[in-house]
Symmetry: C2
Subunit: 501 residues, 2 copies
């Protein structure tokens, strides 16, 4: 399947957006969702599109790109700060030129920026379809996912990915290994380096903004994983391990790292250097295998920078609370400040069915410690693939974690929303509380379970104690007596009641 670029501003169709670009650009081979039929109208190359600088190269050259500008606006930071952070490699702006020509609204991921969260969607051999995955995409975005990874391994992978990219204002990540393995009929031993390079090129042309590649897992690391409680739990890592064992050779993705950089650079795809040896349980956390791979990832970060490509580094997984900060600091040091993109981590293994909670605890601490992006975990973790409701639960748990981390890091303005909802709580402005809540519908529904009537939306007490126990009148009284004129007081009585007071 050949996918080519529209020339900027030259899409002759009415579908052109304000910048004269077809919003459906490359999203579908048929370009069907740009409202046109697949005519030759957009189907010619514009090499110059592929020759321009990456965000990293531009930043180093001292240029502030439009993407840095808009990222700066979204963060409330100066464009120059964003440029400096990108130039230093401490920040990435995952923005494939192809997706950028579509609906992508660029954002920055790095320790200087607001803590980001990612949600994983994607079908498997047995579940979901294009419609189902687009629904998960919209749910992810609605509840605040900053990026979305399409981990599809089932049917119509290209169709699903094209639809997701066409629909998505947020950066899209993938694991090219999955589709490549599908096309190899599941036989990883048959992989030749060119297969992988071609798949990366193919997905880059589709507009994927960042890709997970397991380049850091080396042959000499394998013995370190043998005595683990749960061995190698990363699929990508396992597949590379199998290939290395079958061929008795070094990791081909490591050997061809510079070739891969050339493809990434052409589209400005951001590296998400995968941790194929991440621990799969508390017992394996922070072990020799994990940190041996991390050392290699640190070297690859420098090579990716030398090649002009942006890079972030993936991290575990399952870590006891007391090891999380150490893990984040170590990654920042070993990987020269490249943004750390962590999965959870889960802080206990005993709660399958609730791993959005076990991992939100770890994620909050990781974000507070300096992780730049938190990959969500859903209630279905370890048990099955998340459905749309699981995606919602996972995204909300991670918005909580990332926001709590921003507050704990004392980012300017991070607490504004907390203070606003607290004032609304104090003023008994229930509708305003619902409006400011991460999930207004659920907050309203819980409130209405006991006090459904509209009148109670402004009632100066709540169902938790009723008027008699409400501390509102009391604090008001207190204010009057202390001659402090302030109109309202509080009945934050969930907390009150639950403290048993």
């Amino acid at each position: 399947m050949l996918l080519v670029l529209f020339r900027r501003g030259q899409c002759p169709e009415t579908c052109s957006d304000a910048r004269g670009r077809c919003p459906g650009i490359l999203a579908h081979p048929s370009a069907s969702d740009c409202g046109t039929v697949a005519t030759p109208h957009g189907f010619f190359e514009e090499e110059s599109e592929l020759m321009s600088d990456t965000q990293l190269q531009a930043a180093r050259a001292g240029d502030i790109t439009p993407e840095m500008k808009s990222a700066a606006e979204r963060e409330g930071l100066s464009s120059e700060l964003i440029r400096r952070e990108v130039a230093a490699g401490r920040m990435v702006i995952p923005a494939n030129r192809v997706h950028l020509a579509g609906k992508l609204q660029p954002l920055a991921i790095g320790i200087a920026a607001r803590c980001k969260i990612n949600s994983n969607i994607g079908n498997s051999a047995v579940t979901s379809d294009v419609r189902g995955e687009l629904e998960k995409l919209q749910t992810s975005i609605r509840y605040g996912a900053d990026t979305v990874m399409d981990l599809s391994t089932g049917k119509s992978i290209d169709e699903i990915r094209a639809a997701i990219i066409a629909d998505s204002p947020v950066p899209i990540g993938t694991v090219p290994m999955y589709q490549m393995l599908e096309e190899l009929g599941g036989q990883i031993e048959d992989m030749r380096p060119q297969h992988f390079l071609d798949m990366v090129e193919h997905q880059a042309r589709q507009g994927v903004d960042y890709m997970t590649v397991h380049c850091g897992l080396l042959r000499e690391h394998l013995p370190l994983a043998v005595h683990r409680t749960t061995g190698i739990v990363s699929r990508g890592g396992s597949l590379i391990a199998r290939w290395m064992m079958a061929h008795g050779k070094q990791n081909p993705l490591y050997e061809h790292f510079d070739d891969l950089c050339a493809v990434m650079r052409a589209y400005d795809v951001t590296w998400s250097l995968g941790d194929g040896l991440r621990p799969g349980c508390l017992a394996d956390a922070s072990d020799a295998a994990q940190f041996a791979e991390l050392e290699v990832l640190g070297q690859l970060v420098q090579r990716s920078w030398a090649n002009g490509t942006q890079a972030m580094v993936e991290g575990p997984g399952h870590i006891p609370m007391d090891q999380i900060e150490m893990n984040v600091r170590k990654q920042i040091e070993v990987c020269h400040g490249a943004p750390f993109y962590v999965l959870g981590p889960l802080v206990t293994d005993i709660a399958p069915g609730y791993d959005h909670i076990t991992s939100a605890i770890g994620a909050a601490i990781a974000g507070w410690s300096g992780a730049a992006m938190l990959c969500y975990v859903t209630p279905k973790e370890h048990l099955g693939l998340p459905n749309n409701e699981d995606v919602k639960q996972g995204v909300i748990a991670y918005k909580i974690a990332a926001h709590a981390a921003d507050v704990a890091r004392r980012r300017p303005g991070a607490r504004d929303r907390d203070d606003a909802i607290s004032r609304a709580r104090f003023a008994f402005d229930w509708n305003e509380q619902f409006r400011l809540a991460l999930d207004p519908e659920t907050a309203r529904a819980y409130h209405d379970e006991t006090l459904p009537q509209d009148g109670f939306k402004s009632a100066h007490f709540c169902s938790m104690c009723g008027p008699k126990y409400c501390s509102m009148g009391i604090t008001e009284n207190l204010r009057q007596l202390t001659v402090e004129a302030k109109p309202q007081a509080s009945c934050e009585d969930g907390g009150a009641r639950h403290a048993g007071s």
Copy 2:
């Protein structure tokens, strides 16, 4: 209503338990649930019961009580260590003699013991009844609550409390202020110190193991709370504030602290010194009002010890992550090591409907920092009273937090269950994973959503990737090649998949 004690070993009825004590003792005035009719058979006093030492007095005298022994067994600690900790006031064993003569299985709360969790139940003017509250009690115990507080404020308070105590193997806590206010017709201004003393005596005779009393909120503290974003959010604290304003006098519970100690000592009721000025939002966290009250609580801890009574101290509430450890350390220092019993804390205010998660994050960090017991928060926090399902969700979130805290504190054996479930995961022993899970039914149900057939309970892959992507065979292959004999490998593929690898 007069409630009296059976003489140990003298209950003439067949209902007597192994230790010759009527399990229904004092639980009902009618003693109906000990399987007998309410005859005079058990209704005579045995004052000696009330004259014996408290756990604190016994520990100081060098005596190891049966309660210290059983607590030691449950903790896997030596009886002498428990005795030393209780003697030092760093540990409490909330065990009202009356409840102890019933179903109570004593446990220890303190920094040297496993981190405990409390669930709050209780009806309100509009919701629930005896049956409903007993259901919440059983749900709390089933999912692992170590203590339960009955915060009933509605009808038949005595009947509900008696039934809960009769049914409960875990310590029961209350807030005597609530029932006293009911009996005063809601007019706190009408309270005379004797009203409160009588209510504490009444509830102590019913068998309540620990009581929240707001003795530390003083008149001079009130101006400190006036400028807060959410004022005074504790009901007990608000009521005391109103009383002090109405009468222009000092907190009567502070003034009569020694009289209250005398009642507590008679039954060995443990103090839960309430924090009437705890912050109700992030903006008010760690402020002058909170810490001024904490200083007084520290003095009262020493007075409670001087009076031979056990004491723990309650804490907030709403605290940003970066202030939690400081709060715990400060309480331990100011309150001379008395066990810290924290509510949450919530680490953000923006997620009503999900405050079991916002607070489980704070609770895990608090427990890791040294809090002895975590008071749960349910999804209904700030919105309504928890129903039975909310109680389950709250307890599970807090079991996760407390367990993660024990693991992070590296308590001996704390990680055993994590390691066991990880080995089962590695071995694809799904039934064993379910058995070891905090909520086996939910874990099984999620797994069965995609792979319901029994055969899949032992299948060496899961629905997240299926056989082709399973890292199991790969790691097995690796083990064979590296001549490491170990039978199975892993497909912990939720994590794998969700890491995008």
